[in-house]
Point group: C2
Chain length 88, copies 2
Amino acid sequence: MDKKPNEVLVSMKNVEDYALEVITLLNQGAQEVDIKGVGRDIGKAVDVFNMIKDKLGNGVELGSVSIGSESRDKKRLSFILLRVKKVY
Amino acid sequence: MDKKPNEVLVSMKNVEDYALEVITLLNQGAQEVDIKGVGRDIGKAVDVFNMIKDKLGNGVELGSVSIGSESRDKKRLSFILLRVKKVY
Ligand SMILES: [Zn+2]
């Protein structure tokens, strides 16, 4: 897994934990943050985006959505990458 | 759930079943087909797209990706809509 500076990888924690993690990054000056979900966590990544949108409204927008697949432990897993952008 | 003519709603069947359903629609003349996944089936919808891409290669492209949430049985569920477009 390739975790980048402004990337939040969604996994076992609550949706709200990840949403707050993204909001904190934005509050600390990040212009955009990627929310990544892999395999069965793809749906949770979308939940995280929806919660951020609920909390910040027009303060954020969905910049882009990428999907694809990557290998992990010899298994091929689908992923999603949701780019959240700050709006001024 | 609002199932449209060229929309394949991903649910309990295998990934391959849905991939074949989309490919059949494209072969029958559809220019684009939406793959929809709701809640825990969002990841499976991405799997379906990846399988179609594996099978058809440059014959298809990802036209757009929409995410959002909708209500079902008083619960709010995230969804994804992946638009697959035929390429000539
Ligand atoms: Zn619907």
